[in-house]
Every structure is written in C-alpha cells, then in structure tokens.
Homo-oligomer: 467 residues x 2
C-alpha cells in the first residue's frame, strides 16, 4: 500500500491545503519533546502536506481522497499533546481542524461545538451566553482544542469535582466521520463513546462534540504553604472530601518544586516549603476559610481576588497538571515526568512510600480528583532524567509498589494507557478505518495484536530519519 | 420565673398578634404526630399567643418584651418539623416568621433571604433571576421555610451531590438575634454556624440567611423497578458514585413500599418489586441511560419528561425523604419511622443485615447521599408500630448492629442527634439566651447537664394536659 501523495494533493487543491515544508513541519509536531525518549524517536517525522477543512463536508472529501490514494491521515487540533499523538509516524496528510471552530448551540448544562474550538473560547462563549463553562479542561485551556482534549486528553482542571473525562456523563455525544471509500457520518453516544474518545484519532474524525457544562464562577486561585508534605496531602484530601465546598483544582507540590521552578512564586516560599494550589468558587471562600482555620500550619500566601504580589502569578491552574512539568523543564531541561495512579484506597500512604523511595530524583506533584465516588490522587511526578533504562526502572518499581503508570514516554495508545488491547477501540477501527490509514502506528492492537508489552513498542512503519 | 403573659401581650399589641385559641393552637403544632411516642406527650401543648414580626426590628421588640416578662418564645417557620421542634413545651409566645419572607439578594452561587421564605419560593426567584436554585432542600419544599430548614432540618433532595446541610459550605452566613434585655444582632459564619444551625431556635432567632446556590435544571424524575433489593442498592450506589452524572435524588424503597403506599405508582408495580426514585439532570440523561443499560434487571417505569401514566405521580422527590413516611401513614396509620445512619464503609452489607433481622416489621427506605467525600446511605425506615418498648428495642438493636439512630421519637436536640452534649451550642445558649427562654425543654444540656441518655428525657417544665 504505497500512498500516492501527489494525486491526493492534486485532488484536494481547491481546499485550504498547505505544502510548504516549514509550516508542514511545524504542523507535524506536538509536545512529545517533554519526553527525552519520544524526542529521540519522533523528532524527525514530518507529514507530506496539511489541509484545513472548514466543514464536515470538506472533512469527508479529504478522507475520501486520502482513502482512494492510500494516504495516512493524522488529525491535529493544536498539537499540545505530549505523547506524539499528533505526530504523523508515516507521513501523509495532516488534517488540521483549526478552521472548524464554530460554537453551534448552548443550552442549560450542555453545548454543541465543532472540534477545533479552543477550550478557552468555549468557556468565553458559554459564560457570555448563560454563565456556564466547561466542567473540566486540560491546563492547556488557552491553546488546546476540544477535539484534541476529547481524542487525546484525560481530564484536568475540574476533575476534582467531576472525575475523569472518560467517566460516564462527561461527554454526551460525538459526531464522527469514518475513513472509507464512502465515509459515513456516525452519531456516537453511550458506551460507544469509549470507542472514539481518547483514541488519538485512530478511529474516525470527530466533527461535532456535545459536552456538559457547569456554572461559571469567578474562581479564586490560591497558593498555600505547608512545612510538611504529608500534612499538605492530608489537608488536600480532606478539603476535596468536603462535599459542600465547590472546588475546581487541588494540587500539591513537593518541595522544592514551587521554589525552584515557579519563578513568580519563588519570592514567597522557601526551598523547604510544600505548596498547595487551589481553585475555589467565590461563594465557597467563607467555607474554605472555616475549613482551613482548622489546619494551623496551612498558610495562604496568595489569593487571586486579593493579591498583593508585585508580579502576579497568572492563572493558578497554569501551575498544575502538565504545566508543572512545563515550568520545571524551562528551568531545568533535564527534567521529564511520569503519570502515576495512586488510587483511592490509601493514596497518601502509597505516595509516601514512593516518595521515600525516589525523592529527590522523582519529586511528587499530586493532583486530587474524584474517582468512582471517592477522592483519589494521581501524580504527574517530575523526574530528573538520566537514562532510558533508569526511567524504565523507575516506572517498573512504581508498578511493583502498586502505583500504575500511564507512561508518557510511549506513543501508542496501549502503552500510555492500561497496557492492554481495548477490544472496543480495535473492533471499531476495523469498521471505521479498514485500511488502517488513521494515525497509523498508534494502536498496537491493530498492527501487532500479540505484542507483549515487556519492552517499548516500535512501530515498523515509522519513517526513518533518512527517508 | 413566672411568665407574665398578659403584660407581654399588652406590650406587643401594636404588632401582628394572635390570641385566638383555635389559631394559636394550630400554630403550636408541628408534625410530631408522625411519632406515636411524641403524640402521646405533645398533643395537648399550646402557646398563649402568637406574633408575626414583619422586620428584624419587630423581632427584637418581641424578644425584648418577652425577656422582660419571662415569657418563653418558640420560633415557627411553617411547622413541618417532625420532632416537636416547633411545639411550645412551656406555652408562652409563638414567634411566627411567615411574614419575613423577602428574598434580598441573588448573586452567582448564593442568595441572601429572610427566614420565612418558602424553599419553593427561593427556588422560583433564583431560577427566574439567573437560572439558579438551592443546592438542597427538605422534601417539604413546597411548604417549609428556609429558616426552619436551617434551624431544624438536616439535608434532603440534593444531598446526593452536596452532602449534609451541616457540611462546611452549605450554609454561608446567618444573622441572629439574641434573647436578652437588649437583644444583640450577630453575624454568624465559619465554625460558629454549628452553634446556631440545627439548634431548634434554642440559641437565637435567625433573621437572615446566606445560602449557596447551584444551577437550576429541569430535573427528570424517574422511577425504576428491580426484583432484588440488594441489586437495587448496588445500582443506586454505583450510580451515585458516577462523578460525571449530575443527580439530585437517589432513593430505594424495599418491596412492597411502592405498591402498598404510593397510590399512583401502585398500578405500575407488583408487591414484590423494589423501586428506585431518581432525579437526574436533563443533560445527564444520555449518560444515565448508558449507565443503566449495564443493569439488565433495572426497568425504568416512569420518567417525568416522557410520562405515559394516565395519572401523573407528581414530583418524584415527594416520594422520598420523609414523604415516604407520610405516604405510608396515610394508608396505614400504625406506621411510624426511624432515621438510621448506615455510613460509608459497607452500607449495603449493613442494610442487608438489618433488613434480615427486621423485615417486614421494619421496611427499608434508603436515601443515598455524599458523606465526607464518599457515597453513604441513610435510612428513613418504615416501622409497623406496636409498643414504645418494642420501638426502643428496635432502635437499640440497630445501634448494637452498628447503625446509629437519630431518634425521631424524641423532642430534644440531643436525643434526636448524637445523644451527647454539643458544647458549642450550650456555650452559645448561655451567652445568647441567659434566661433559657428560647424553645425551653429542647436542649437537655441546658436543663440537666448530667442526663445519662439511658431512657427518654422528660422535661420537667413541660405543661401537663390539665394546666
Ligand atoms: C503544559 C501541558 C499541560 C497539559 N495538561 C493537560 C491536562 O491537564 N489534561 C489533559 O488531558 N491533557 C493535558 N495536556 C495534553 C494536551 O494539551 C491536552 O490533551 C489537549 O486538550 C490536547 O488538545 P490539542 O488540540 O492540542 O490536541 P492535539 O495534540 O492536536 O491532538 C491530540 C490527539 O487527538 C487527536 N485529535 C485531535 N482532534 C481530533 C478530532 N477532531 N478527531 C479525532 N482525533 C482528533 C490527534 O490526532 C491526537 O492524537 C497538557 C499538555 C501540556 C503541554
Ligand atoms: C413529609 C416530610 C418530609 C420531610 N423531609 C425532610 C427532609 O427531606 N429533610 C429535612 O431536613 N427535613 C425534612 N422534614 C422536616 C421539616 O419539614 C424540614 O426540616 C423543614 O425544612 C422545616 O421547616 P419549617 O419551616 O417547617 O420549620 P419549623 O417546623 O417551623 O421549625 C423547625 C425548627 O426550627 C426552628 N426555627 C424555625 N425558624 C427559625 C428561625 N428563623 N430562627 C431560629 N429557629 C427557627 C423552630 O423553632 C423549630 O425548632 C420533613 C418533614 C415532613 C413532614
């Protein structure tokens, strides 16, 4: 199956098509370079052309043409993903959805939007329309698209109240175009959502999203300091467990993360201080103060509604989730990260054991979220990178200690997830992408169903640097 | 300390005062008669007069006059409480707050209201103003006041998402008038809220309430049937634990409650069927359907947005909380009830053990709520009443089995609660009601600090039927 790139470009020339090498190259990259492992493998990859459809009809046209000419299609929102999800391993076409950014409908509790809408723009429109906003968003809110969040993200700011993006109810409906001779348009809801959401665009192109909303508030961003990490975790757990306090973010940073990596926070903390970042609804602030008074060692050093810092730190959530890694990387390029699940049974105990084992090689950055009706914790731990072997060893020891990793140093769905075939996704791909042209190389189950997961998967189809 | 009723009436004659025996008698009663135990003890009690202040200034005037003349004051919202909270054990004055029903301010996430507002009217005003409503309300929403809910209630419809009324954040601020020679007006927030909320008006008169709001939705009311009680509990637990599904009510009725006591539901269920009542946000309905599909034995028999029942059942929440008891009582006057805590650790196991012990003498009616960041269950069990001794025995056995009771057959704060002195409430009463004139007889700690709770407290000051 050799792609006929030239024929495809010719057939699509009436669309908004881009063949300029420099811009195609920039559209072929995402933020995989947060991982030294992925950087070593994906840095050279580039598509042959990019096209920006304006409508679903144009998406269908692109898919039809690429199908006819065996051209791989890798969909792109704004390429803020970290696992090379948007990198075209086999070249071909970048389907860039930036022009499909209409907000179609806003209703009480839900909105219907096109995939290329920025998360920030959805919030702006919903707030202006009816005082609503997204339940949750990735911390790349200002630059990421909703399509990329649904196809490549997992949760984020708001997950402390609403759980993960995959939890039933957090996506209402998707409209999806298949990759066939005659592409079909499918309305996906219910259990079927799992086939398409978080599938890295390997299963179909999402052209419309119906997503639940929550009320918009002027969230108060806060930083608190503690002298003791365990106490900060206990505080954060108990705060999140206060059902009457409406929160949007509860994040804990082991020392010296805040001091060393958060430039505008640094003047206000010592290297030894643990920092907790919060977003609290304004009408929950009196309750928050009542709650916090019972923790004599908690000190509020910043609140966005009453700041006296000479240099404002900006949005507090842009310190949490993977923005923590970004800030650390900027200061120390040798830093990379892990994504660890500490669960709901004894997250604090498990985190303490892991920390005792690894600190300071691995520094704990904890996100508190709701998981199955309980309070849970996850880590986007900062790792001082030395070698790939050591990184793999660190991951392995975590897992032996009972803390599963969603490995951000892998470009396949399975290795970044539960290291098992998702039968629903695979079955759907057989139906929706029979030639396997959608984001090839990202689903191990498609290419090598018997893969053992004992070592990193290397897709045989990946373009070599020389090509 | 003998009250000088005539002097007080004379001093208050320029206010909206009521001395007509029939109407004063009706204002002296609440719904204590749901309990045969309380009915035997409180049925004859009546105040000497009632007064309906229109303003906080008039409240102050009433309290000042009653203080001067040693007249007990029992505050009344609309008297829908079940524990005789609003019954004047020592006669005196009924302070009826029905005229103080202004909605003062509505903001994003919160409202400021007078105590005599009906819960229903607050919801109506907040919805019209800005698509908001109360986070939670007692199922007497249509008839009860917010002041009575805060001073006498504990939670209700909405607690499955927001927890209990006493949980930090669920009341923002109270304005309270003290019972002294010169009544003071206090603004109460933070930890101090526990001194005044759920204190049955023994600690001061609430004249203003700041309460958090949630977005208003056109909640879909549902009834589902199951053939198996445990499965219905498991379903309800798992549903409530789905963080992405926005719910306002999750209630389970053991068979044959729905068949025997819910007249409009009866034609649609068999005596053997367990019924689950739900309120689900409209935009959560697709997710709800996805969730429910995984439970093949769950059958939706009614949904308010698509009803084909010839006789509409009305508001679904008016089958839950203590409305279950009300409906059972109407059919079988020998029924009374318990309030049982099954906690969060193994509520289903505990309920099953209790049910195995007592059914059908005690039928399980379960309310699912959030408790400290987890899903918990409570019971408003229906009891086939025989004797007080047997009722006490049932309560005792529950407690021995690890299921604490909030005994609704007692008229004191302590016996209806945790059977222990609340030091904060007592201390505050010393300060705010030095003569002990506010709702006398309701706080054991005030009258008999050494009471042992081994038997029912009988306040010595209670008027005898002959008086
Ligand atoms: C600093 C930083 C912080 C981050 N924080 C978070 C966080 O809090 N939570 C989180 O979940 N992620 C986070 N991420 C990852 C990423 O930013 C988000 O998932 C983001 O929402 C992706 O959106 P995007 O538009 O950049 O998607 P892209 O990177 O462009 O695409 C992501 C994946 O989705 C596919 N895709 C995109 N659009 C479609 C479509 N319409 N149909 C089918 N497939 C499609 C792409 O092919 C790709 O596989 C973070 C990343 C960084 C760098
Ligand atoms: C069928 C039924 C269902 C119910 N369901 C629930 C439920 O789901 N949840 C729940 O919590 N309760 C429930 N209840 C109990 C009761 O209806 C509620 O607590 C209700 O909110 C009380 O309001 P009210 O205006 O009737 O108060 P009242 O009965 O008039 O007063 C209650 C108590 O508060 C005091 N009080 C009233 N106003 C003030 C004030 N301004 N300042 C100081 N003290 C004051 C009174 O003195 C009294 O002690 C139910 C009762 C029934 C009969």
């Amino acid at each position: 199956m050799t792609p006929n790139i030239d024929a495809a470009i010719a057939a699509l020339s009436h669309l908004d098509i881009d063949t300029k090498p420099a811009s195609v190259k920039s559209k072929s990259r995402d933020l995989f370079w947060y991982s030294p492992v992925l950087k070593a493998r994906l840095d050279h990859l580039v598509a042959d052309f990019a096209v920006s459809p304006r409508t679903e009809a144009e998406v269908i046209e692109v898919l039809k043409v690429c199908y006819a000419h065996d051209v791989p299609v890798t969909t792109r929102g704004t390429g803020t993903g970290n696992y090379g999800q948007a990198v075209p391993l086999a070249g071909g076409c970048i389907l860039h959805l930036n022009k499909m950014d209409a907000i179609r409908e806003i209703h009480p509790g839900r909105a219907i939007v096109e995939p290329g809408c920025l998360l920030k723009d959805i919030d702006g429109a919903c707030k202006a329309d009816s005082g609503q906003e997204l339940r949750m968003f990735s911390s790349t809110w200002a630059t990421a698209t909703i399509g990329g969040f649904v196809a490549g993200g997992s949760g984020g700011v708001g997950s402390v109240h609403w759980g993960a993006l995959r939890d039933v109810g957090n996506i209402i409906r998707l409209r999806v175009v298949t990759m066939e001779a005659e592409p079909r348009v499918l309305e996906i809801a219910g259990e079927d959502l799992h086939r398409v959401s978080h599938a890295y665009g390997t299963n179909g192109i999402i052209t419309e999203i119906e997503i639940p909303l929550a009320p918009a508030y002027d969230w108060v961003g806060l930083f608190l300091t503690f002298d003791n990490f365990t106490e900060a975790l206990r505080y954060s757990y108990a705060l999140a467990a206060s059902d009457g306090l409406l929160l949007k973010l509860v994040t804990v940073f082991e020392a010296p993360i805040a001091h060393d990596y958060f430039q505008r926070v640094k003047p206000h903390v010592t290297p030894g201080q643990v920092v907790v970042a919060l977003m609290v609804a304004p009408h929950a602030m009196p309750g928050f103060e009542t709650f916090t008074k019972a923790w004599p060692n908690a000190e509020v050093i910043y609140r966005s509604d009453r700041s006296d810092w000479p240099r404002d730190p900006g949005l507090v959530f842009e310190y949490g989730w993977n923005h923590t890694t970004l800030r650390a990387l900027k200061v120390d390029p040798s830093i990379t990260y892990l994504q660890v699940g500490y669960g709901t049974d004894d997250p604090i105990g498990l985190i303490e054991r892991v920390r005792a084992k690894f600190s300071p090689e691995v520094l704990q950055h904890i996100e508190v979220t709701r998981q199955g009706g309980r309070i849970g914790m996850g880590g986007l731990s900062l790792v001082k990178f030395t070698t790939e072997e050591r990184l793999d060893e660190i991951v392995r020891i975590h897992e032996e200690m009972g803390a599963p990793n969603f490995n951000p140093h892998r470009y396949t769905l399975e290795e970044g997830g539960r290291q098992a075939v998702d039968a629903r996704q695979l079955e759907f791909k057989r139906d929706a992408d029979p030639k396997g042209l959608l984001n090839p190389g990202k689903m191990i189950a498609w290419d090598d169903p018997d893969w053992g997961y004992d070592r990193m998967y290397a897709w045989p189809g990946i373009k070599s640097a020389a090509e």
